[in-house]
């Protein structure tokens, strides 16, 4: 069962990962020429012209885009957060519900396997792919940075694992939401909405003190990139919160799925 799940979900994993790898490849190929040009000083000056709220939203107030690592700390990791979040959300909304949507559930249900076991193997498959995506991206960028410039390795390693703390809760929330539906097309929009809406709230929360309270309504708070950039450490509270939220929604999914009417 796990083998089959890994096989059928491999294609989408490959596409999503390749898109990000391609993007970073372009960055590593283009950045050396940008850094060497005189325009880089102008870019730093140009960035300073942006409103403070916007600089904060993209971490540009605490990192300079004048190096490849600087770009990663500002736009790069935000893109990783967003894309791994969207991937985890879609995977969550799809991986179990697909059987109902494709009507293969009637066959699967007749096999001598418990619902709990079906769910466990699907969740393991999803976690393998989410973690793999983050590891592959981390490794790729690490090699890219090694070849490009000198950088803070500890800070980089911590930064590259932070997307896990938002992707896992997003997966768990979406798999839980999917137990309320019978069709994937109904939950696809919801999963995108949760991932993108959550990101939008995060941007708002970063902007100023008035909108700061939005941080309590977005899972991206758990991937605390700013803290890693400033303090070169991961806030253990965020790690615990991320694991607790993931666990609560996964347990909720097991409870819901055990009694769900599969139609």
């Amino acid at each position: 069962m796990l083998k089959r799940e890994l096989k059928i979900n491999f294609k989408s994993f490959l596409i999503w990962t390749s898109v990000l790898l391609l993007l970073f490849l372009v960055v590593f190929l283009v950045y050396p020429s940008i850094i060497e040009s005189d325009n880089i000083k102008m870019m730093d000056e140009y960035v300073k012209m942006f409103p403070e709220e916007m600089l904060k939203a993209f971490n540009m107030d605490i990192a300079s885009m004048s190096t490849a690592f600087g770009w990663l700390k500002t736009e790069g990791f935000i893109m990783v957060l967003l894309i791994t979040g969207v991937y985890a959300s879609i995977l969550g909304s799809n991986i179990v519900l697909k059987e109902e949507s494709d009507k293969t559930i009637e066959y699967l249900n007749a096999l001598p396997i418990t619902r709990r076991s079906v769910l466990t193997q699907k969740i393991i498959c999803a976690i393998i792919y989410i973690v793999s995506m983050i590891l592959i991206l981390g490794l790729f960028n690490f090699i890219g940075l090694e070849l490009s410039e000198d950088f803070d390795r500890k800070q980089y390693i911590l930064l590259s694992i932070t997307p896990l703390f938002s992707a896992l809760p997003l997966f768990a929330i979406n798999i839980f939401v999917s137990t309320f539906s019978h069709k994937t097309k109904k939950t696809f929009g919801v999963s995108l909405g949760i991932a993108l809406g959550s990101y939008f709230l995060q941007v708002l929360a970063e902007m100023n003190e008035v909108t700061e309270f939005f941080k309590y309504f977005t899972v991206y708070t758990l991937a605390d990139i700013r803290n890693v950039i400033v303090n070169v450490s991961i806030n253990p509270l965020m790690v615990i919160l991320s694991l607790v939220i993931t666990l609560v929604f996964i347990i909720g999914t097991f409870i819901r799925y055990e009694n769900k009417e599969l139609v």
Partner: protein, 293 residues
């Protein structure tokens, strides 16, 4: 059939989808080696009963006892006892027939290879084809193999012959009769009523979520009604006298649905002048139509 042969029992099964009735009150008792025809019009509750039996949906009340144990969706031993063929088969399109059979086999600890090969050969299925490329008939064949290859004690078949050509239908009927000989209990849900008299031992007719008639095929056909056509100048008097359901009426000719014994009938109509009298057997289809209506 011995009483202790009971392998499947449904007791007062009730299923409501919110306020909508799925099944009102269904009770069945099936014995080893019995083929039970489960008949009823659309929306009567056949599929709901089967889906509840398969634990796809949760019952509102009632009990389902399989092989002496109350049905439980997590009881893998009970699941291994059942082979299920849904009316519409949806399998994994990305796999070939061989991969699909291998996948199925991987869930059973026993070696299913011999039975699998026998069935593939009997139903003439090409294992190299992709599931998505199979015709309706071939999908059905694959569904039949998947339902039978683990040699279940109970077979639940929902409209099993739809999509099969007449030759394959006959092979399938023979296959079921072999299963029956081995002691497999079969629930056979169908709309094709001629199949019922061909392979079923007992029939349950479900209507509005309740079993309205249950008997052996033999008894149902033996005690069945006949059509009675009378041509008489005193047709109105006869109509009042025998008070039967009229199927057709024109001038002096009336066709009745007759459930009287021959003696009762003769006694009632002998006092009238009859020009013509025709007694015909009612087909099993007509009989069920009576219950359906």
């Amino acid at each position: 059939m011995k009483k202790d042969d009971t392998i499947l029992e449904i007791i007062n099964l009730k299923k409501y989808y919110g306020k909508i009735r799925g099944v009102e009150d269904v009770s069945l008792k099936l014995h080893s080696g019995e083929v039970y025809g489960f008949i009823g019009p659309n929306g009567a509750g056949k599929s709901t009963t089967i889906r509840t039996l398969m634990n796809l949906i949760n019952k509102t009340s009632g009990k389902i006892i399989i092989n002496g144990k109350e049905s439980n969706k997590n009881d893998l031993e009970l699941k291994e006892l059942i082979g299920y063929l849904p009316s519409e088969i949806y399998l994994y399109d990305d796999l070939t027939v061989k991969e699909m059979l291998d996948f199925h086999q991987s869930f059973y600890k026993r070696n299913l290879k011999n039975r699998r090969n026998e069935l593939v050969k009997l139903l003439k299925l090409d294992e190299s084809k992709k599931v998505e490329d199979l015709s309706l008939g071939n999908s059905k064949k694959l569904g039949i193999i998947l339902a039978l290859m683990h040699e279940p004690k109970i077979l639940i078949l929902d409209e099993p012959t739809s999509g099969l050509d007449p030759i394959m239908q006959n092979i399938f009927y023979n296959l079921l009769l072999e299963e029956k000989k081995k002691g497999t209990t079969i629930i056979y849900s169908t709309h094709i009523l001629s199949e019922v008299s061909k392979i079923c031992d007992r029939i349950g007719i479900i209507k509005d979520g309740k079993i309205i008639k249950e008997d052996t095929v033999e008894n149902i056909t033996k005690n069945s009604v006949t059509y009675l056509t009378i041509d008489s100048d005193e047709i109105n008097k006869i109509k009042n006298e025998i008070d039967l359901k009229i199927i057709y009426e024109q001038n002096n000719i009336i066709k009745f649905m007759n459930n009287l014994s021959p003696n009762e009938l003769m006694e009632k109509i002998s006092k009238y002048k009859i020009n013509k009298l025709l007694i015909e057997e009612v087909s099993i289809e007509d009989l069920f139509m009576e219950y359906y209506e």
